[in-house]
C-alpha cells in the first residue's frame, strides 16, 4: 500500500459513497450547531418534512449572540433579534432531539471549546459546524471544518457532506520556541508567511518539535486559525498529549472501548514517505511575539517591527495595505510598540481556554491595568470560568482591573453587546482583524494572551518579554 498522510487516512475511513468523477459522500461523526447559522437549516428540514438523521451525533449550544454579563438569563439583555435566534435554537434542539447546552447550563460556552471539553471531539473523527473556526478540532487529529447553512441542513438530513478531496499541505515548525512565544504567535507567523490564501484548496498537517511540545490548548489555537490561512482544515496527529487530554471526558470512550479506540488512534499518523503537495517550514527559534498591523490576518509582524509602507508590497496588496493602514489610523514607519490602545479583549475560540487565562494571570499578577483601559476577559466556557475561579486566576484578574465575564464568543465578532465603538483600538486574542469585525470602524490588533495582558498593563502594544 502506498504511504498515506493523516488526512488521507481519515478521509478514506469516512467515504460512504464515491461517484465516478471523485465526488464523495463523506460521513460526519460529529455535527456541532450554534444559533446563528442553523435556524434556516432546521426550517428547511421542517419545510421538507425531514428529520435529523443522527441526533445523538449532533450537539447544539448558543454562543455567538449571548451576553457575557451577570443576569444574562434575563431576555431583556439581548436585542429582540438575538433573543429570537437563541430561542429558535432552544426550540429546534428540543423538537429534533439533539444534545443541547442552554445558556443556563454551566457547560455552555463557545461551541469549539465545549466540543473538546465534553469529549465529543475525538481523534480520527470527522467534525463539522456552521462556523469557520471548526478547524479548531483538528488539534485532536480529527478532520474538522466549517460549512455553510445549506450544508448544515445537508448534514442534519443525511449525516454526510458532498465533498471532493483537498490537497495535502505540511507545515513544519522545527525546534523550540523562545520564552514569551506562544501557539498564537506560531499560527500568526505561519499566516504571515503563507498569506490568507496560501492554504486554499489544502488540508494542513502541522508537525515538528515545536508543535509536539504544545499542550492541547496550544494545538487548538494553532489549528483554529488554519482557516485564516485559507485551508479547509488543520490537523495535528494525536499522541500521548492528546490521549491524556481526552481520557475521562464525559463523552470519551471508557473501559474496553477506550482500549479499542486507543489502538486505532495510534495508527493516525502520516506514513513515512507520504506525499505532500506543498510544504512550509519555519524554525521555532525564529518566531517572535507578533502583532497584526492591518485588516487581514496575514498582516503580521514581530512586535519589534514598524508599520510597513504600502509600496513595499506588490500587486493588489499595495492598495489593500494602503486601505488597511488608513483604516487602522497608522503611519508607515511607526514603531508597532508605540501604538496606543484603549481596549483589551481576551477570549474567543482561539484563546479562551484555561491555559490562555493562566498565561494572562502570569503577566498581570499583582499589577494594575492602565488607567482608563477597558479590559475584559471572557472565558470560553462555563467550565473554563469555574476552573479559573478555583485556581484563583479570577481574583488576579479582578484585582488587576479586568472585567471577568461569562462565557461566549463576545467581542471576537461582536454580535452580542460587547463591541468596539468607532475609532477604538483593541489588542485582541481573537482571530480576525477585518474592518468592522469588533464593531463599526473599530480597530483590531491580533495578539497572544500574554501580549494582550502586557498591552493592558502599559496601554500600548508591548513586547511581553520586557515584562517577564
Amino acid at each position: 500500500m502506498s504511504p498515506k498522510t493523516l488526512y488521507d487516512k481519515i478521509w478514506d475511513a469516512h467515504v460512504a459513497h464515491e461517484a465516478d468523477d471523485g465526488t464523495c459522500l463523506l460521513y460526519i461523526d460529529r455535527h456541532l450547531v450554534h444559533e446563528v447559522t442553523s435556524p434556516q437549516a432546521f426550517e428547511g428540514l421542517r419545510m421538507a418534512g425531514r428529520k435529523v438523521r443522527a441526533p445523538e451525533k449532533t450537539i447544539a449550544v448558543p454562543d455567538h449572540n449571548v451576553p457575557t454579563t451577570a443576569g444574562r438569563e434575563d431576555p431583556a439583555q439581548m436585542t429582540e433579534e438575538s433573543r429570537i435566534q437563541v430561542e429558535a435554537l432552544d426550540k429546534n434542539a428540543k423538537e429534533f432531539g439533539v444534545h443541547y447546552y442552554p445558556v443556563s447550563d454551566v457547560r455552555q460556552g463557545i461551541v469549539h471549546i465545549v466540543g473538546p471539553e465534553q469529549g465529543w471531539t475525538l481523534p480520527g473523527m470527522t467534525v463539522v459546524c456552521g462556523d469557520s473556526h471548526t478547524a479548531t478540532h483538528g488539534a485532536f487529529g480529527a478532520l474538522a471544518h466549517g460549512i455553510g447553512t445549506s450544508e448544515v441542513e445537508h448534514v442534519l438530513a443525511t449525516q454526510t457532506l458532498i465533498q471532493k478531496k483537498s490537497k495535502n499541505m505540511k507545515v513544519e515548525i522545527t525546534g523550540k520556541l523562545k520564552p514569551g512565544v506562544t501557539a498564537k504567535d506560531i499560527t500568526l507567523a505561519v499566516i504571515g508567511k503563507t498569506g490568507t490564501a496560501g492554504g486554499t484548496g489544502y488540508v494542513i498537517e502541522y508537525c515538528g518539535e515545536a508543535i509536539r511540545d504544545l499542550s492541547m490548548e496550544g494545538r487548538m489555537t494553532v489549528c483554529n486559525m488554519a482557516i485564516e490561512g485559507g485551508a479547509r482544515a488543520g490537523l495535528i496527529a494525536p499522541d500521548e498529549t492528546t490521549f491524556e487530554y481526552v481520557k475521562g471526558r464525559p463523552h470519551a470512550p471508557k473501559g474496553a472501548a477506550w482500549e479499542q479506540a486507543l489502538e486505532y488512534w495510534k495508527t493516525l499518523y502520516t506514513d513515512e514517505g507520504a506525499h505532500f503537495d506543498k510544504v512550509v517550514s519555519l524554525r521555532g527559534e525564529d518566531i517572535e511575539p507578533v502583532v497584526t498591523w492591518g485588516t487581514s490576518p496575514e498582516d503580521v509582524l514581530p512586535i519589534t517591527g514598524v508599520v510597513p509602507n504600502p509600496e513595499d508590497f506588490t500587486g493588489g496588496k499595495v492598495d489593500a495595505a494602503r486601505r488597511s493602514i488608513e483604516y487602522m489610523g497608522l503611519t508607515p514607519g511607526q514603531k508597532l510598540s508605540d501604538i496606543e490602545i484603549d481596549t483589551v479583549f481576551i477570549g474567543s475560540c482561539t484563546n479562551g481556554r484555561i491555559e490562555d487565562l493562566r498565561a494572562v494571570a502570569e503577566v498581570v499578577k499583582g499589577k494594575k491595568i492602565k488607567d482608563g483601559m477597558r479590559a475584559m476577559i471572557v472565558p470560553g466556557s462555563g467550565l473554563v470560568r469555574a476552573q479559573a475561579e478555583e485556581e484563583g486566576l479570577a481574583d488576579i484578574f479582578k484585582e488587576a482591573g479586568f472585567e471577568w465575564r461569562l462565557a461566549g464568543c463576545s467581542m471576537c465578532l461582536a454580535m452580542n453587546p460587547d463591541q468596539l465603538a468607532e475609532g477604538e483600538r483593541c489588542a485582541s486574542t481573537s482571530n480576525r482583524n477585518f474592518e468592522g469585525r469588533q464593531g463599526y470602524k473599530g480597530r483590531t490588533h491580533l495578539v497572544s494572551p500574554a501580549m494582550a495582558a502586557a498591552a493592558a498593563l502599559t496601554g500600548k502594544l508591548t513586547d511581553v518579554r520586557e515584562l517577564m
Partner: protein, 201 residues
C-alpha cells in the same frame, strides 16, 4: 434552487484583494432567521454612510453598476466566515456570477448552493475582464455555463473550468439533499460498518 441560465449582464469591477465575509455582510445583519432580504445590506459598510445615505464612489452605487449581475473581484474573495448570509446577500442583490483569481473554500461551496457561479481564472484573464467591467453599463458580458465560456463586450472569449457535478446541479437547479437521500442505502451500509469498527464514534 433556480436554474442557472445563460447570463448577459453588467459586470462590476471590485479589484480589492481579500474581500472578506464581514465586508460582504457585516454581522449585525446575521440575526435574521430567514434566507432572504439581505441584498439591501450587501457590502453595507462600504456602501452606506452611518446615517444610511449612500457612499457615492462605491462601485455598486454608481449609476452604471446598480444593476450589475456579475462581479469581477480581486484575489481571495469571500475569505473569513462560513456565513451563508454572504452568498444570500449577493444573490438577493441580483449578482449571479463572480470572477476572481481565487475564492475562499467555504464561500466557494456556498455559492453553488445558492445559484451563484464562482469562476476562477488566471490573473491575466481576470485583468482582461476587469478592464472590460470598468467600461460601465454599455459593456455587457455573457456567461455561458453550459459552454464554460465568458465573452467580453468586445467578443473576446475566455474559457473556464468548473466541477462537472456542481455544473450539473447549477444548470438543473438541483436540491442536493434530495440527491444524497437517493444514496441512503450507501449511508446505511457505511454506518453499520463504522459502528462495528469504531463503536465509540
Amino acid at each position: 434552487m433556480e436554474k442557472f441560465e445563460k447570463l448577459h449582464g453588467i459586470a462590476a469591477p471590485m479589484p480589492l484583494v481579500n474581500i472578506d465575509t464581514d465586508m460582504i455582510i457585516p454581522k449585525v445583519f446575521l440575526k435574521s432567521i430567514q434566507r432572504t432580504g439581505f441584498g439591501k445590506n450587501l457590502f453595507d459598510e462600504m456602501r452606506y454612510n452611518r446615517d444610511g445615505t449612500e457612499i457615492e464612489d462605491f462601485v455598486l452605487n454608481k449609476p452604471q453598476y446598480r444593476d450589475a449581475e456579475i462581479l469581477i473581484a480581486g484575489d481571495n474573495f469571500g475569505c473569513g466566515s462560513s456565513r451563508e448570509h454572504a452568498p444570500w446577500a449577493i444573490a438577493d442583490f441580483g449578482i449571479k456570477c463572480i470572477v476572481s483569481t481565487s475564492f475562499a473554500d467555504i464561500f466557494f461551496n456556498n455559492c453553488f448552493k445558492n445559484g451563484i457561479l464562482p469562476v476562477v481564472l488566471p490573473q491575466e484573464q481576470v485583468d482582461i475582464l476587469m478592464k472590460d467591467a470598468e467600461k460601465g453599463a454599455n459593456a455587457r458580458m455573457t456567461v455561458d455555463l453550459e459552454a464554460q465560456e465568458i465573452t467580453t463586450s468586445d467578443g473576446e472569449v475566455i474559457s473556464f473550468e468548473v466541477d462537472a457535478f456542481k455544473k450539473h446541479c447549477l444548470l438543473e437547479g438541483l436540491d442536493d439533499i434530495g440527491l444524497t437521500m437517493e444514496k441512503s442505502a450507501s449511508i446505511d451500509a457505511f454506518e453499520a460498518k463504522a459502528a462495528a469498527e469504531r463503536p465509540w464514534a
